[in-house]
């Protein structure tokens, strides 16, 4: 089975982003960029499917600027077979990314599409669901366990009340939650090998996709800062404060 896995280039999760001084956007000058952690989990899941002999080919796809090639090389080092970059310098919304991915899927006809549940920059949590709508295929978001059997995908999902199990007909889109797996580290030989794996570049124009934005960013600001309060000396003082000062317990 052919597996396509989408990866996004985002600010590294260790970086604390700040607004630019004019408040127009966040300041991303000279910050470390990485593969989105949830996408990394999706790549790991795809590679494990290949190792089990279920996936016959794993294709990593990214949509974004030229530098996304770094994240695609990471995916190749982790075990993807080949990569496709849909290259554009325009700012991209989830719907536009889903449209680009749909065009790639139309050309590649994957049986399974693995994605992160959300990217840690925009925190949108939309692209997988949107791609599934555009492809008119099945979807399982927030996956914590995936198994493939008899042409079906069985997915355990993390939902508000606990866990839910769905059975999907293929092709299907599965978006990863944190506990789907623990991604491996790429070994040096695999990093070297990844440099020789094929990486195709296309543009949204070549795919016939309009990526014109629908949403305008008017500005960004820091959230209201919470002030540190006081230190209490013991449990008795804590209970007294909660009862008589904050009045949150009786």
């Amino acid at each position: 089975m052919k597996v396509l896995v989408a990866v996004k280039r985002v600010v590294d999760y260790n970086v604390k982003v700040r607004p630019k001084s004019d408040g127009s956007d966040v300041d991303l000058a000279n910050v470390k960029m990485s593969i989105n952690p949830f996408c990394e989990i999706a790549v790991e899941e795809a590679v494990r499917l290949a190792e089990k002999g279920i996936a016959t080919e794993v294709i990593a796809v990214s949509v974004g600027p030229k530098q996304c090639q770094e994240q695609l090389r990471t995916a190749l080092a982790l075990g993807a077979d080949r990569a496709i970059l849909v290259e554009t310098d325009e700012s991209l919304e989830p719907l536009a990314i889903a449209k680009c991915l749909k065009a790639v899927c139309d050309a590649e006809s994957p049986d399974l599409i693995l994605m992160g549940k959300q990217a840690i920059d925009g925190d949108n949590n939309q692209t997988g669901q949107m791609l599934s709508a555009l492809l008119d295929c099945s979807q399982a978001t927030f996956a914590s366990e995936l198994s493939l059997d008899d042409g079906k995908a069985v997915v355990i999902r993390e939902v508000d009340g606990g866990l839910q199990t769905l059975e999907l007909s293929l092709p299907a889109i599965v978006t990863s939650d944190l506990r789907l797996n623990e991604p491996r580290y790429a070994s040096l030989p695999n990093i070297m090998k990844a440099k020789r794996k094929p990486l195709d570049v296309k543009t949204p124009d070549e795919l016939g996709v309009s990526i014109a934005p629908r949403v305008t960013l008017l500005g960004v600001e820091l959230p209201a800062e919470r002030q540190a309060g006081i230190k209490v000396e013991d449990v008795a003082m804590l209970v007294d404060k909660l009862k008589n000062e904050a009045k949150v317990i009786s």
């Binding site: 604390k16 607004p19 966040v26 919304e93 989830p94 719907l95 840690i120 920059d121 925009g122 925190d123 949108n124 949590n125 939309q126 669901q129 791609l131 599934s132 709508a133 099945s138 979807q139 399982a140 978001t141 927030f142 914590s144 999902r157 993390e158 939902v159 508000d160 009340g161 606990g162 866990l163 839910q164 199990t165 769905l166 059975e167 999907l168 007909s169 299907a172 939650d177 506990r179 934005p213 629908r214 949403v215 305008t216 960013l217 008017l218 820091l222 959230p223 919470r226 309060g229 006081i230 230190k231 209490v232 449990v235 008795a236 804590l238 209970v239 909660l242 904050a246 949150v248 317990i249």
Partner: protein, 309 residues
Amino acid sequence: MSILVIAEHDNSSLKPATLNSVTAAQAIGGDIDILVIGSNCQGAAEQAAQVAGISKVLVADNAAYGHQLAENVAPLIAEVGAAYSHVLATATTTAKNILPRAAALMDVQAISEISAVVSADTFKRPIYAGNVIATVQSSDAIKVLTVRGTAFDAAPAEGGSAAIEAVASAHDAGKSEFKGEEVAKSDRPELTAAKIVVSGGRGMGNGDNFSMIYSIADKLGAGVGASRAAVDAGFVPNDMQVGQTGKIVAPDLYVAVGISGAIQHLAGMKDSKVIVAINKDEEAPIFSVADYGLVADLFTALPELDSAL
């Protein structure tokens, strides 16, 4: 302006999360209808009709909608939503699963987890795990929005008497099938609805020690949460996780026990009204957001707190 709120429910009853979206809809302004999609969901529909300020309740009652499968529910939302200026749902895992799919079917760029309404087309929302708040303006004809529940008060659940209308349209894509669920059974209030939440972190040491937290929570009528570290260590199940990738809570009182206060966790609880931190490390970042900090070993402080309550 006409606004469609998608109900969060379990077929028999309306979930309180719906009421936060009603308040967000009121902030936008206009006629507000509620759409209840389910199977044998008359009970939920009747409760939706009681919500104050609702014009009418639309009910799509069909076996295919019983488990809120996105492939079946999203086309219905796209179809019904086409007659409205705004489609809203509170950002539960159900809505997060379905609404973007409906938006794509409508060729709309959805806006996730709005935390404030600036105007009918402009909204604020947290990005980068809540480290930054963005103000965004939509140019789509129909706005499809999920609403961060903690950012909007619940609308009154009673006082209305909206008419209930049936929606006949049925969609059964036949692409996915519900096989089962493991729902945590608990007499404690649901985390996102609880007025008080007591959470434990890695400092709890193991799952058994959470009994100290449960005991205190039961005396306070509180929900119980956990940090990602405690969940990853296997102390407690994942549905208890509070944080950026878990549940977002904003109770009147949040008690963090043995939680260091990683950004990931703070993103899920820093809008709580009063925060208490109990941690033996006085440098722990959790103290920088706590109204009341107690530097103490939790294994002595928790039994003391338990007997003081």
